[in-house]
Symmetry: C2
């Protein structure tokens, strides 16, 4: 006999537990919570995800999630369209937007090059990035990928592709160093070592 | 402007974040995970919850979640129908079943009396419990409610209702004491104090 008193309940728990980081016990708790809600609320809960899957669009320019063909950032006249910030995913755009420190546009790769996970340059939006740059209006490309080996590989690959395309464009990457507010004592050796090598001029 | 690049995305995140213990950042991660799945998978995910809400039945006898009018435990001839274990909710039935130590039937109250949260005796399945007992076939009622003030209140209320109904039935409650495998040093004072008062005979 199954552990669950109902097959329908078990199926709902299986679906909930298919989400990353949600174990079976948590899934059961969430499903029983849903069961206590009204019919309309459960209907709205379910509909939100099918609607998302059916109706959401990826911006034709930057590949960010969007409600319109061209996203609100790419279609804004107040943004600097000569600067493109290259990021791995949608969350990264939201994180950078939240800083309020960036006024350019984005390019969402939808992943990074990872031979271990079988992700090659053709699986992510690199060709479309080179096309955007080749149009000649872009003045700076900011590489804002994770500071991991995969991120570094992708940074280098993009750098080479831009060089090969023969376009005159400034390529920069986000600063790496000791996080603001951190004690040196608790900073890992690689970060600390590089922060000394890549020291910047002190403007008093 | 909203923090989210898409209203549809935001609505899906809102729905996911309405689940207990799921914050907005986790909700976004889960929703973006769903977005990477196939149409069929997202459809199956959503359908599981509407189906649960529409099709799930509560057993007419014990009020546990069930696929049939009478649940598999209540309709089993191998269970002892003269013993009823009273529990707060569906999870409790599953927990006790998992111990493999109980062969009677259950009664799911669907809550416990809590004046603080406005839950009175009429809001939970106490009347139907008294009716089941009044039929005269039940020999023992095991109270397996949480060992909290609300649980104690509910235990006492049920005890009085059974007395008033004038039915001859044994009423017991689950043993309270030091959890198996625990050090006395780390057991709270109330539990330890009661475990001395309610000591049981040592059978060597």
């Amino acid at each position: 006999m199954s552990d669950y008193p109902s097959i329908i309940l078990e199926q709902a728990v299986n679906q909930m537990a298919s989400l990353p980081g949600i174990g079976r016990r948590t899934a059961l708790r969430l499903v029983l919570h849903l069961l206590r809600q009204s019919d309309e609320e459960v209907e709205a809960f379910s509909a939100a995800f099918t609607r998302l899957k059916h109706d959401v669009i990826y911006c034709c320019e930057c590949h960010n999630i969007s409600d319109t063909e061209r996203c609100s950032i790419c279609s804004s006249t107040r943004r600097d369209h000569t600067t493109i910030c290259v990021v791995e995913n949608v969350q990264d755009v939201m994180s950078i937007e939240n800083t309020g420190q960036y006024n350019g546009v984005y390019h969402v790769l939808g992943g990074i090059i990872s031979p271990m996970e079988g992700v090659g340059p053709k699986d992510i939006e690199i060709d479309s990035l080179i096309e955007r740059i080749a149009k000649g209006e872009v003045q700076e490309v900011i590489l804002a990928l994770p500071t991991t080996m995969e991120g570094d590989t992708t940074n280098f690959y993009i750098y080479r592709r831009i060089q090969n395309a023969g376009v005159e464009v400034k390529i920069s990457q986000i600063a790496r160093g000791v996080a603001v507010g951190n004690q040196l004592e608790y900073t890992d050796e690689i970060t600390l070592g590089r922060s000394i090598i890549n020291r910047t001029e002190f403007k008093g």
